[in-house]
């Protein structure tokens, strides 16, 4: 769809039409009753052979995993995993609630390209995140509809993202005219406050009717106006923060500090209080383990799986666990061998984990890699390995399936970001899975 048609399609014919629909002011905001979407971006390239695509060593060949010297691949339900970091407890607890997609070819060894590719579905810049699309499609006017705490954050102009990483700052500002040190008092008489708000609102409405604004100024007014008008329910969020008790502390590891749990806590409170529908959480771990691989991956994976556990536990506590979908991925994978500094370098093949409670597609693994961690093509429909004529899973397939699964695949806002997929993988089948192969490294030692 070209731009002209896009505008026409979106029903935007005036000058104001140069803004995406998400920035148009709408009367009221329907309560959002759909699913919440969280992505966890493991920054730096995780080692899936120590997680959900486990590989064991073969005598006489380069070791792929030190943990496999004295241990072996485990299975939780139907899912194979590596007994590394805190994986055992994680997989044993959640295997029924997760779909593993192995053998995703990110087609790059570049961090930047890998991040763009895995989180937008396209290796070229310009396509928004799944979370941005989801928020824009479902609840563009919630005050912090889309939370992004870093990592890939492309919105392609369809929505704005909010950072949510300082609860104290937020608590101080959700009621701007309230004296935080003396909540019985306001900074300005309420009559003046209301007067100013009304005047400002009228002036901005008048401004938006002008036809000679720069794109940037129009965007500024629209953003500000909608931000103000949508902000009232931030009080609910503030109440949620107040009722949350202690905020989770960050975790200091050897080479990194992680606030994943606090990010999750804030995001889930935001969702629970009706101000957010999607969030990108960041594991700023030490996944880029060019040296000291085992230590850094262990610590990073531990933080990740602990964080995931926290997400589900806290969501349960808030009562929204049944509405939550979590997608976990990284830039790419790591080499199936150690380098001279006991590190592992970049490897284009990785995995994704999709989690949701009580779903028929849980407890399954789709996609396959061989003993050298190369992609084995599969039949997109049967999901069985198919060396000849099978298809390779690319990020676009994962993203397209997730768009469809989340119900936004055909949303007009998503249409301009259509992938050039030739095939669709039946990732969310209730019955089919990909056998994890007979390669020695993939076999379960009994």
């Amino acid at each position: 769809m070209d731009r002209r048609n896009f505008i026409k399609f979106a029903g935007l014919t005036s000058v104001m039409g140069s803004l995406p629909t998400a920035f148009q002011i709408r009367a009221g905001q329907a309560d959002f009753n759909g699913k919440f979407l969280i992505t966890v971006q493991a920054e730096g390239g995780w080692d899936v052979s120590s997680l959900c695509d486990p590989k064991m060593n073969v005598p006489g060949e380069a070791q792929i995993n030190h943990w496999a010297i004295n241990d072996e691949t485990r299975t939780a339900g139907n899912i194979q995993y590596a007994p590394f970091a805190n994986n055992i407890s994680f997989f044993e607890k959640y295997h029924n609630d997760m779909l593993i997609i192995n053998g995703i070819d990110s087609q790059t060894n570049s961090h930047t390209a890998g991040v763009v590719h895995n989180w937008s579905g396209r290796i070229s810049n310009g396509f928004p995140t799944l979370t941005a699309l989801y928020a824009a499609s479902n609840a563009p006017n919630l005050p912090i509809s889309y939370i992004n705490n870093g990592g890939y954050a492309e919105t392609a102009g369809i929505i704005r993202y909010s950072r949510l990483d300082n609860p104290d700052s937020i608590k101080n500002i959700v009621e701007p005219n309230r004296n935080v040190w003396n909540p019985q008092e306001s900074w300005n008489p309420e009559r003046d406050w209301d007067l100013v708000n009304a005047t400002r609102s009228n002036v901005m409405a008048d401004k938006l009717n002008k036809t000679n604004l720069t794109f940037r100024e129009r965007l500024a007014i629209s953003n500000y106006k909608s931000s103000l008008e949508n902000a009232s329910i931030l009080k609910d969020f503030n109440d949620g923060l107040s009722n949350a008790g202690e905020f989770e502390e960050g975790v200091q590891k050897t080479n990194f500090w992680s606030s994943l749990k606090q990010q999750a806590q804030l995001a889930l409170i935001a969702m629970n209080t009706g101000v957010a529908v999607s969030a990108d959480l960041i594991v700023g771990g030490a996944f880029d383990s060019h040296q000291f691989h085992d230590r850094d991956q262990e610590e990073s994976l531990e933080v990740t799986t602990d964080g995931l556990d926290y997400i589900w536990e806290f969501a349960e506590r808030l009562g929204i666990a049944d509405r939550l979908v979590v997608v976990v991925n990284s830039d790419f994978g790591r080499t199936p061998y150690y380098n001279v500094t006991e590190g592992k370098d970049h490897w284009p093949v990785g995995s994704a984990i999709i989690m949701e409670r009580n779903v028929p597609w849980g407890n399954r693994t789709v996609g396959l890699t061989d003993q050298e961690q190369n992609v084995i093509p599969i039949n997109p429909l049967t999901l069985q390995p198919q060396e000849n004529g099978g298809s390779i899973i690319y990020p676009k397939h994962v993203m397209q399936s997730l768009r469809d699964y989340m119900g936004i695949g055909n949303n007009p806002l998503v249409t301009p970001f259509t992938f050039n997929n030739d095939e669709t993988f039946d990732f969310f089948s209730a019955t089919k899975a990909t056998p994890q192969g007979q390669d020695v490294r993939n076999s379960v030692r009994v």
Partner: protein, 1561 residues
């Protein structure tokens, strides 16, 4: 004839004695001497045989040519049907047999089967001949014998027809006597002059240019023995005028044409290919306006000739043309002729000069003309002139008109009757008189080829028209049998006309005209209808074709999109003729027969954009077969490439990667380097081929070179640059496109900030302040020069320093180390022994000393983290060459870091840790055996003896310790991250974003040193790794040569691997399994100084300046320079491309300037002066083009900028403090507490700034204003008038309605019980116009002592208003107030007084009926109370009472103060929003109304609300700081707001600070 008869006839031949000759004969061609004439082999009568040769008389060695011999004879009447035989031989070369011929020895003779009856008494023998190898003259001999069919030698032709033709075998010469290219040399023919010419080869066309300077008649003719044809053109090839074949003497042409001043061309050629030889072409010009008897100007006088009438005329001079107008009133045939002795020519026109109808020379008697023409009603003209210049004298011109319905067999009027000719049918016709033209209409219902021909004895000419007279299509004279015509034409459905006439006036008689129609889709390979199917021939392409039947014309359409030269030729064995047309059939351009190889044509023509057609046919009907037609188009691209593209772009840019084995070796585009022979030709062809590939367009390539569409090499050419424009022009020459290569027009419809607005915005950004009045005044002239000067001047001071350091850190991100300083500064490591020892000594002492050390160490950390941004600031502020940021041989230190670095720096104040100056790191230690130390958990590192101490080999930012550590390395990364960021920051090259990405899993998984060997990897690593190598002396953290002994920084795992061998050799400083340290294709010459070498390379690279502009772009503009769009199918690709093109073009220009002066301040000025900074409005029609342009007005302020702006505009920042725990460095809510929430960065995990407002940010913005508004107002109100920033000219009593007021001291308290002690207070007189007013009395200093409970009230006894005559016009007793007035706080006192017990007012409305001077009198006194009632007498100070007169409705009535208010609002808008309005602007009025509403609502509050912090309201002003214990003064009183004035202004400030214009710029 049945089969039996045939066999019988054959039997007769075989039994005859001449049986041998019936099978052919040799030795009788004449070559050997005897012929049948000589040998008497046939007897009989003279058949008057004639043998004529048709074919080339020249040939090239070994050339094979077609020959034809026509044997015509006239047998005796009684001889019956004849047959004919022949013997042909040549003196050289080789004959090839043709139809009916056989080869016997070297000769040809007829075959038996060829002996067919010849009803037309002629036989056409066709054969071929191949010329000998050597040049010379070859003679063709032939004798033909006509025989009867008796089978005996008797009654045959007694005189065989023989012929000898000499054929010149010669090398092809190209030197045509008068050129063949009209646009080049050719010949010139003067007027009334002659030139010699030669038709020197088949197809030769000589042309002669004639320059005519006045109107007149130009007559052109040839003389000589060659049968010439003349074609006359005006101005150029395109404007055909007339043509002639034989109107001259003999077979020469002669044509006349009325001409205007201009240049004309006469094309001279032979009629047939064999018509070769010399001729003389002569021009005769007769100017108009001579003494002609019948004028020479048709439009003026001339003569009139009646119908069936005669007029006398005289050709009275050379070139004289007499013309006669004839008026015809009905259709019919008009015959015009002359009589007399003059050799006259008549030319007949319809309606005017332009509509030529027919002409004649000698069809009349003697040398007079006689012509006939079918005419319709109208006016016609007969032009009469002498044939030659010498043909002068008197004549008589006569007209004969015969109305239609006469004897002409097929009418002469196309529009009336005429005849119809069916398709594939024949009709008889008769040329029944001189000039008779029969026409036949043919109706065609489908496309196809129509062939029309005549048969009979009349020498007919056929002219073929479409639709009507005007649309001439083709014509023929003798292509049919005998002297009949035969023509073919591709036709579409419609009606056509064939005109049949005799060739000469004497050619009269019966004929049969026949049509043959062949529908399209038949065997003709390329159709015959130009407007329908046909074929298309691409440029620089070939197509196969077949001349598959006689008369077949294949045509090929060529679409030309640009001017250039088009060459068309055929190859193959068919003798083809090419005729070249423009636009359609009508516009003949040129033609050729044999200029190509062999008998192929080759023609060239200058063309403009349009559609052209090449018609290909066989030269003769027998020329059939397959050919290939080829087009070659030269737009001038080749020459342009050599001059403007090859060296400038391809060799300097492209071949760095796009060559075999280059980084872009896998690309489809591969060039040759200049060391290859013919490299320019090859590369030019490469471009042409590339641009013709599927999916490749000029825009595609032009986008790539800009870095768009994922170009692996990033941006090589900036849009709008000279090279880019040249490349676009070159592509245009190849493709014919008009490519947009500059951004002119992008800013159409965009309005700019004024000079004052620009200066204000820039001053806030650059200096964190508003311009001074003087600075504003300096730019009001609107001149760019003034603005530039002022912009330059604001670039100084602390604000500018902060702009530079903040802007630099946004890119370098070294502020990450503000918290911990990283490893480089870790005092438990040994590299800075001074720092380590300093820490050790502190730890050893412990306690407060150790704690103090932590604080002092933080000084060093801050300096360490800031060093790189400070270095840039130092270079810029001191206007040093900007390149020094990479070449500086110093770093930046504060006193503490100077100690650590042993920097020997001299500070103005060594205790001031905010002073940062350039110095060298002289205390860096290498580790070797001389270094001895100990480490304990308690005291950390203790150094006993230091290792070698070196002076850091500074290379500006490149080896700034914090920069190195910000981008650390590992044993496998090997400085690649440093390389990546160095190139990103200083070479405008983001290898991660723009690198071609491999999707080859094998390549990505390659373990065999893929960065060196695998092209999928080398594509990046060729660029990445040498620069990484230049960082060879720096280890993972950034230490210089961190390995033992300071030998190198190579990883142990490389030097001494656990397994296998290492390529490492002693003394190496870089990895041998990587590319050598270097840059581009150069290698670092000096290991010790590789980074300094790299710095020089970078600053001398053109991209350095570009990167510098982009480095600072976001700091100035507020958004990063846009990246090149990558996917052309994206819905916003068009608008993104537009903004990218325009922006990259501008950046390139700014970079050019920076390169020339290296002064960043000037570059910052350049950026500010641009539309990118100043764009403030955009017309609706331009909005879509700019829909991806996020520059100009509307930039969201960062927390840092908002912090600075609030300080600049209002004099305060939110939560600004300088706490000791922060080393007295500045902190604020926006800079610290809320920085990230408001979209700022922490230089670590959050490194990109928010560009758009979110809900949370909006609430923060509101909080910012909500908390500050009161503080700002009180802070300014309490300042002395001169120091006020905001509220000059007003005070707490300056209510918006106030006209005048006066404050009185009501003192002298004595306890009283009545009002007898009241005093009179009289206001000054005030002019009041008729209307409604308020008189007011305010108590300004209500007093309450919390300890003694002493309370003061103001008692009003009465109030009077007097006019100028001192007459009381209004009087109010105190006890009247409650019913009349608005009362802020108070109530009745005693029986008839009124008590005001708080800081508030009583307003009493009055009416003034007569304009004039009025005064107010108030009788008042004060009371003092305590808990017991009247307080005892004492010194309680005085009460302040304000008596004022105000307008009744401040919102609608102006007052002095309201005007003042509006001017203050105006000033606030200017400062806060940058909008320069007038006081009557609706925006100002709206804010004033807001103020009035706020003021009125506050005034009407009941209770004790006379403080700005009224009940339930906080004010963030630090009142307590103003307490004065010495006199018990409470600062809180500063917030008293008895007239609600400050409260009202608080509302205005709140509004202004929360408007989007305050939060955006």
């Amino acid at each position: 004839m049945d089969r039996t008869v045939v066999l019988f006839v054959l039997a007769l031949f075989f039994s005859h004695t001449v049986l041998a000759n019936s099978g052919g004969i040799t030795g009788h061609s004449g070559q050997q001497g005897p012929t049948c004439n000589d040998s008497g082999c046939h007897n009989g009568s003279d058949y008057q045989s004639n043998l004529s040769y048709d074919g080339f008389l020249t040939a090239e060695p070994n050339q094979s040519i077609d020959m034809s011999l026509l044997h015509a004879f006239s047998p005796p009447i009684n001889s019956g049907m004849s047959m004919a035989g022949i013997n042909i031989s040549v003196s050289g070369g080789v004959l090839g047999q043709g139809a009916g011929l056989q080869k016997q020895g070297s000769e040809l003779t007829h075959t038996f089967s060829s002996l067919a009856r010849l009803p037309d008494n002629e036989k056409d023998w066709r054969f071929t001949w191949t010329a000998p190898e050597t040049a010379g003259t070859v003679t063709l001999y032939a004798c033909a014998e006509a025989v009867d069919r008796t089978g005996t030698p008797d009654n045959d032709d007694a005189s065989a027809a023989c012929i000898e033709k000499s054929i010149q075998v010669q090398q092809k010469t190209v030197s045509s006597d008068c050129g063949d290219s009209m646009s080049s040399s050719g010949c010139t023919l003067g007027l009334n002059a002659s030139e010699s010419g030669t038709v020197d080869k088949a197809g030769d066309i000589d042309f002669f240019a004639l320059s005519v300077t006045q109107s007149g008649t130009l007559t052109l003719s040839t003389s000589g023995s060659v049968d010439t044809v003349g074609v006359f053109f005006a101005q150029g090839n395109d404007q055909y005028l007339t043509a002639d074949n034989d109107s001259g003497s003999g077979r020469n042409f002669s044509l006349s044409q009325n001409v205007s001043p201009g240049t004309y061309y006469i094309h001279v050629r032979g009629l047939k290919a064999s018509d070769l030889g010399a001729y003389t072409v002569t021009s005769s010009f007769s100017a108009s306006g001579g003494s002609s008897d019948c004028g020479d100007s048709m439009s003026s006088t001339g003569c009139t000739l009646g119908l069936n009438a005669s007029e006398s005329g005289t050709v009275d001079k050379a070139g004289d043309i007499d013309f006669f107008a004839l008026s015809v009133t009905q259709s019919g045939t008009l015959t015009l002729s002359t009589s007399g002795n003059v050799d006259t020519v008549g030319v007949f026109f319809a309606q005017g000069n332009d509509q030529y109808l027919t002409a004649d020379n000698d069809s009349g008697t003697g040398r007079n003309f006689s012509l006939s023409q079918s005419v319709n009603p109208g006016t016609y003209y007969i032009h009469v002139r002498g044939l030659k210049a010498s043909d002068l004298g008197a004549y008589t011109v006569t007209s004969n008109f015969s109305a239609s319905g006469g004897s002409s067999d097929c009418g002469d009027s196309m529009s009336s009757t005429g005849c119809a000719l069916g398709l594939n049918a024949s009709e008889s016709g008769t040329v029944d008189k001189a000039g008779d033209i029969d026409f036949f209409a043919l109706s065609v219902t489908q496309s196809g080829t129509l062939t029309l021909s005549t048969s009979g004895n009349v020498d007919t000419v056929g002219v073929f028209f479409a639709q009507g007279n005007d649309q001439y299509l083709t014509a023929d004279n003798d292509s049919g049998s005998g002297r009949n015509f035969s023509l073919s034409q591709s036709v579409n459905p419609g009606t056509y006309y064939i005109h049949v006439r005799g060739l000469k006036a004497s050619d009269l008689g019966a004929y049969t005209v026949t049509s043959n129609f062949s529908a399209s889709g038949g065997s003709s390979d390329c159709g015959d209808s130009m407007s329908s199917t046909g074929c298309t021939l691409g440029l620089n392409a070939s197509e196969s074709g077949t001349v598959d039947k006689a008369g077949d014309i294949d045509f090929f359409a060529l679409s030309v999109t640009q001017s250039g030269t088009l060459t068309l030729s055929t190859s193959g064995n068919v003798d083809t003729v090419g005729v070249f047309f423009a636009q359609g059939n009508d516009q003949y351009l040129t033609a050729d027969n044999d200029s190509g190889s062999g008998r192929n044509f080759s023609l060239s023509q200058s063309v403009n954009p349009g559609t052209y057609y090449i018609h290909v046919r066989g030269l003769k009907n027998s020329d059939l077969g397959v050919y290939t037609v080829t087009s070659s188009f030269d737009s001038g691209a080749k020459a342009f490439y050599a001059d403007n593209v090859s060296a400038q772009i391809v060799q300097s840019k492209c071949v760095a990667c796009h060559v075999q084995n280059g980084a872009a070796a896998s690309s489809r585009l591969q060039f040759e380097r200049s060391n290859v022979t013919n490299y320019q030709m090859v590369n030019n062809a490469t471009w042409q081929m590339f641009l013709s590939e599927s999916g490749v367009t000029s825009d595609y390539v032009l986008s790539k070179v800009q870095g768009s569409l994922g170009h692996g090499g990033g941006q090589q050419l900036a849009f709008g640059s000279e090279e880019y424009i040249a490349l676009g022009e070159y592509f245009g020459l190849i493709t014919g496109e008009e490519l947009v290569t500059s951004s002119k027009g992008y800013w159409n419809g965009v309005g700019l900030l004024s000079n004052r607005q620009t200066l204000r915005k820039a001053a806030l950004i650059f200096a964190g302040r508003l311009p001074t009045d003087e600075e504003y005044a300096s730019v009001v002239d609107g001149k760019n020069a003034s603005l530039k000067t002022s912009l330059r001047n604001v670039m100084q001071g602390d604000g500018f320093h902060q702009f530079l350091t903040d802007g630099a850190n946004d890119k370098l991100l070294t502020y990450k180390f503000f918290q911990n300083g990283g490893e480089f500064l870790d005092t438990n490591f040994s590299r800075l022994p001074a720092g380590a020892t300093f820490a050790f000594e502190a730890r050893k002492i412990g306690g407060e000393v150790e704690e103090e050390h932590h604080r002092l160490h933080r000084d060093a950390i801050r300096s360490f983290a800031k060093a790189a941004p400070e270095l840039i600031a130092y270079v810029v502020e001191n206007e040093k060459p900007y390149s020094e940021i990479l070449t500086a041989d110093y770093t930046m230190v504060n006193p503490r870091l100077a100690e650590y670095y042993r920097a020997n720096a001299t500070f103005n104040d060594p205790s001031d840790q905010t002073e940062i100056i350039p110095a060298q790191l002289k205390g860096f230690m290498l580790e070797d055996e001389t270094y001895t130390h100990d480490y304990t958990e308690t005291f950390g590192l203790e150094i006993f003896t230091e290792g070698p101490i070196i002076t850091w080999p500074h290379a500006g930012i490149l080896n700034d310790p914090a920069f190195l550590e910000r981008y650390p390395s590992t044993a496998t990364n090997r400085n690649r991250a440093r390389s990546r960021w160095t190139q990103y920051l200083f070479l405008d090259f983001d290898i991660e974003k723009s690198a071609a990405r491999s999707n080859d899993p094998d390549a990505l998984a390659d373990k065999d040193n893929p960065t060196m060997k695998n092209s999928n990897c080398t594509v990046c690593h060729e660029t990445l790794d040498p620069v990484a190598g230049a960082f060879q002396n720096y280890g993972d953290v950034g230490y210089y040569r961190d390995q033992w002994g300071g030998k190198d920084s190579l990883a142990d795992t490389y030097k001494w691997p656990v397994e296998g061998n290492s390529p490492y050799q002693e003394g190496d400083t870089w990895y041998r399994d990587m590319r050598a340290p270097g840059f581009n294709s150069e290698t670092v010459p000096d290991t010790e100084h590789s980074l300094q070498w790299l710095a020089q390379k970078i600053i001398n690279d053109d991209r350095f300046a570009v990167s510098a502009v982009k480095f600072w772009w976001p700091a100035v503009i507020g958004s990063a320079a846009v990246y090149a769009p990558e996917v052309s199918s994206d819905n916003d690709y068009e608008s993104k491309t537009a903004v990218y093109n325009a922006q990259s073009s501008y950046i390139a220009n700014v970079a050019d300037s920076l390169r020339s002066h290296m002064n960043l301040k000037d570059t910052l000025v350049d950026i500010v002066m641009s539309e990118w900074f100043r764009g403030s409005t955009i017309a609706e029609e331009a909005s879509e083009l700019h829909s991806s342009n996020k520059s100009g007005k509307g930039r969201l302020l960062s927390p840092e900028l908002l912090d600075k702006k609030t300080k600049a505009v209002f004099g305060l920042s939110w939560g600004e403090e300088y706490p000791d725990w922060n080393n007295f460095e500045r902190r604020s809510e926006l800079l610290n507490t809320h920085k990230l929430t408001y979209g700022g960065i922490d230089s670590d995990g959050v490194i990109s700034r928010a560009q758009e407002m979110t809900s949370i940010m909006s609430q923060l913005a509101l909080t910012h204003a909500a908390e500050m508004a009161c503080e700002i107002v009180v802070n300014d109100f309490i300042l002395p008038e001169k120091e006020k920033l905001l509220f000059k000219g007003i005070n707490k009593n300056s209510t918006p309605s106030l006209i005048s007021s006066k404050v009185f001291q009501v003192g002298g308290y004595e306890p009283e019980i009545d009002n007898t002690g009241s005093q009179l207070f009289t206001s000054t007189r005030q002019q009041l116009e008729k209307g409604s007013y308020l008189t007011s009395v305010s108590f300004l200093n209500d007093f309450w002592d919390n300890d003694t409970h002493i309370n003061t009230d103001l008692i009003i006894d009465k109030l009077r208003v007097k006019n100028s005559q001192n007459v009381v016009i209004h009087e109010f007793q105190g006890n009247d107030f409650e019913g009349l007035a608005y009362i802020g706080c108070g109530g009745q006192h005693n029986e008839d007084d009124f008590s005001i017990w708080g800081n508030c007012s009583v307003d009493i409305p009055i009416e003034i009926d007569v304009s004039g001077q009025y005064s107010i009198e108030v009788f008042a006194y004060q009371t003092v109370w305590n808990d017991d009632g009247w307080a005892p007498a004492g010194d309680y100070g005085v009460s302040e009472m304000l008596v004022g007169i105000s307008v009744q409705d401040a919102s609608s009535q102006n007052s002095v103060v309201s005007e003042l208010y509006k001017s203050i609002i105006l000033s606030l808008i200017e400062k806060a929003w940058g909008e320069f309005l007038s006081t009557d602007d609706p925006e100002v009025e709206a804010i004033y109304q807001l103020l009035v509403k706020s003021w009125e609502s506050k005034k009407r509050l009941e209770g004790m609300n006379n403080h700005i912090a009224e009940d339930g309201v906080s004010c963030n002003f630090p009142f307590w700081e103003y307490n004065r214990p010495e006199d018990n003064y409470e600062g809180w009183l500063l917030g008293d707001d008895p007239q609600a004035v400050m409260s009202a202004w608080r509302t205005v400030i709140l509004y202004i600070m929360t408007d989007y214009r305050y939060l955006h710029e």
